[in-house]
């Protein structure tokens, strides 16, 4: 009986030590892997001032007028407050903003896709967008909890060819799959969407119920289908390498910067030409419109190489 107790104690001790060692090893490995991942992912940058100035002025004006963004916004009736906020704020800066809802709602105009399944909803919305695109070359997919600055999106896309396959946003790696997180907004070029629509009917490559036994979130399903057509996710960054698509809110990012770099919080938290933030309340979106499109310090001018005009019927920009 004594020897039993003794072996039990020995076992416990060994088990504890084993656990600590395993945790230490795994966190070192994890840290290391994250570091190399950061350098190995594919990324796309906003054009630098030099790159833009290389184009003659008439070409720049032509490009800034010809970039047309079709916004695909996926909503549900229970998110009415966010839906209203998006309608009244940033979506006015899309060349075309179409709201796709799970069911028809009396209060707001939308295209009803008659399904609550997020993956089927995304498929139907993208098919509808492609069929109705006309001369829109770029597609921006968002949920109503996301806030987007379309001018900064156009700046990113200015020197990119929409007849090439582009699939951009805040990229995340999950196992072998690199995908764009929907909460930070997804950008597809005309060519990428064309390829996707081409494979939607193929149930061996891109089935409605998903390829896994369990359901993957719709942004992962999208990545899988696009991968079959040779379209790969790329992380979008500004000229300094900062992410411009954010899956967090300004508040969260500022709080993180207050802890990590307290002497230069506003300088280091986020990109100056950020395209998206996620998780702002409807009221906060109105504050962001004021912050982005109106509030500024007098006397500081930027001689940007492009000009974007304010949209009609809008009073907070």
């Amino acid at each position: 009986m004594y020897s039993e107790g003794g072996s039990f104690m020995k076992g416990m001790l060994l088990g504890g030590i084993f656990c600590i060692v395993a945790t230490l090893l795994s966190s070192f490995n994890f840290g290391h892997q994250q570091h190399t991942d950061h350098h190995n992912h594919h990324h796309v940058n906003a054009p630098s001032k030099e790159e833009l100035l290389r184009l003659p002025e008439h070409k720049r004006i032509e490009l800034s007028q010809n970039i047309r963004v079709y916004c695909v916004i996926l909503v549900e009736p229970k998110e009415l407050a966010y839906w209203a906020a998006v309608r009244e704020t940033w979506s006015k800066h899309c060349d075309k903003a179409e709201f796709y809802s799970s069911e028809e709602v009396k209060v707001f105009e939308s295209v009803s896709v008659e399904t609550k399944d997020p993956w089927i909803m995304l498929r139907k919305a993208l098919k509808h967008a492609f069929d109705n695109a006309k001369d829109h070359k770029w597609y921006f997919i968002a949920r109503p909890t996301t806030f987007a600055i379309i001018e900064n999106l156009k700046y990113l896309l200015l020197n990119k060819d929409p007849d090439q396959p582009f699939y951009l946003g805040h990229m995340v790696k999950s196992g072998d799959l690199e995908f764009i997180e929907l909460s930070g907004g997804i950008v597809l070029s005309t060519e990428a969407l064309k390829r996707l629509v081409g494979v939607l009917g193929d149930s061996s490559k891109c089935p409605e119920q998903g390829r896994m036994i369990w359901k993957l979130p719709e942004d992962k399903e999208l990545a899988v289908c696009l991968k079959y057509t040779g379209v790969f996710a790329e992380n979008a960054e500004d000229t300094e390498g900062k992410d411009i698509f954010n899956t967090k809110s300004v508040n969260t990012l500022i709080n993180e910067a207050m802890a990590e770099t307290p002497q230069e919080v506003a300088e280091s938290c986020c990109s100056d030409v950020a395209v998206t933030f996620n998780g702002h309340s409807p009221n906060n979106m109105h504050v962001m419109m004021f912050g982005v499109y109106r509030l500024r310090p007098f006397g500081h001018k930027f001689h940007d190489s492009l000009v974007f005009l304010p949209p009609k019927d809008s009073d907070n920009d």
Partner: protein, 369 residues
């Protein structure tokens, strides 16, 4: 038989030990950051940052004199630089010992860097922050005493170093560049002061304390003169009203700080309240405002000057929105130019600023290239 059971209990003990430690480790946040930080060489970044801070300010006792007007990446700052020299603002921030780390520190790290000079005023001296001790107690009933002593201090020690004297709380956010635009149409020898104008209790109204107010040089001189001649005294602890009544007695005009579209620039609440809030009909604000209240987006000028009740987090958020985040290439709807009287203002290039500027001239050139 004995061997079997001792091996079994060893195995059991092993499982128990692993599970207990696992739960223990997940309860205590021993995450990868902890190990990451252990590996990093400590303080090399912090050291550079402290040196950076010393490059921005020249510390002269409790006064922080701005050596270099902060510039934004890739900007053309000619207008901002010119107006910085012609409309010199000394900012004083009313704070207290309990709020230095909680609030005043964030003011120091954000908007106060855009003042020509800033002084933090407290009830007691603190040479490290630095703050001046006004020799008062702490508390709401001390607010007017602090204000009186602060302005007397400024008149005594810094009268000729600025054109305008701004008072702010440690939870007020000020866009100093936009304040310069408001003041650019006036000269510092005019007896006038600006802020969020309230209507009651004074014929010409008075300026809200929390939203910040700014006195011309002449207004400051008259304030101090009023106390010397006993025209003004500590009539109440309601700092903003009492000061407003003194201003009225001394013939200092309550100015109109609204922009060219008659939109308010000084705001007594946070942006969210003004932009999206619906004040109830019985709310005191409706009766207090000197000018008509506007709810919704037109409440506030694009070139807003102040907001109040701003938390530490919101200070940085507003700094990010004002000075960093923008829509590339966007043509603003509202584009006021410099006012007509601006041409009358002389530029001030005193030797302090000159020598400070020369030291950082190379750094400045490097940044703008």
């Amino acid at each position: 038989m004995a061997m079997m059971s001792s091996r079994r209990s060893f195995f059991l003990g092993f499982m128990v030990g692993t599970c207990t430690l696992y739960f223990f480790l997940t309860q205590v946040p021993l995450n990868k950051n902890f190990f990451h930080k252990m590996n990093l060489p400590v303080t090399s970044k912090n050291k550079a940052v402290v040196e950076n801070e010393n490059l921005n300010w020249r510390v002269d006792g409790p006064a922080l004199i701005n050596l270099e007007h902060p510039h934004l990446k890739g900007e053309d700052s000619r207008v901002a630089d010119d107006i910085y020299n012609k409309v010199r603002i000394l900012c004083w921030v009313m704070t207290g010992p309990a709020n230095l780390e909680k609030k005043a520190r964030h003011v120091k790290a954000t908007w106060s860097r855009h003042c020509n000079m800033v002084i933090f005023m407290s009830s007691t001296d603190d040479p490290n922050f630095p703050t001046i001790g006004l020799d008062t107690k702490e508390g709401r009933d001390q607010l007017y005493w602090k204000t009186i002593r602060a302005f007397h201090y400024l008149e005594q020690h810094h009268f000729n170093e600025a054109d305008w004297f701004l008072k702010a709380d440690d939870d007020t956010f000020i866009v100093v560049d936009n304040l310069r635009l408001v003041l650019a149409n006036y000269t510092p020898d005019e007896p006038i002061y600006f802020g969020k104008r309230f209507r009651p209790f004074a014929k010409q109204g008075y300026m809200s304390g929390g939203a910040g107010y700014v006195l011309s040089k002449e207004a400051l001189r008259r304030f101090v003169e009023g106390f010397r001649t006993n025209v003004c005294s500590h009539t109440s602890s309601v700092e903003d009203l009492a000061l407003g009544q003194c201003m009225e007695k001394m013939g200092v005009l309550a100015g109109d700080s609204r922009d060219s579209l008659h939109r308010e620039t000084f705001h007594p609440f946070v942006p969210e309240s003004h932009l999206t809030g619906k004040f109830t009909k019985s709310f005191w604000y409706w009766n207090y405002c000197y000018y008509p209240v506007v709810e919704g987006p037109q409440c506030c000028s694009d070139l807003a000057v102040s907001f109040h009740y701003v938390s530490a987090e919101l200070m940085y958020i507003l700094e990010y929105y004002t000075y960093h985040l923008r829509a590339y290439g966007y043509q603003y709807r509202y584009n006021p130019g410099l006012p007509e009287n601006y041409a009358r203002l002389p530029a001030h290039k005193d030797t302090e600023q000159e020598s400070g500027k020369n030291n950082s001239l190379d750094a400045h050139l490097e940044k703008t290239v």
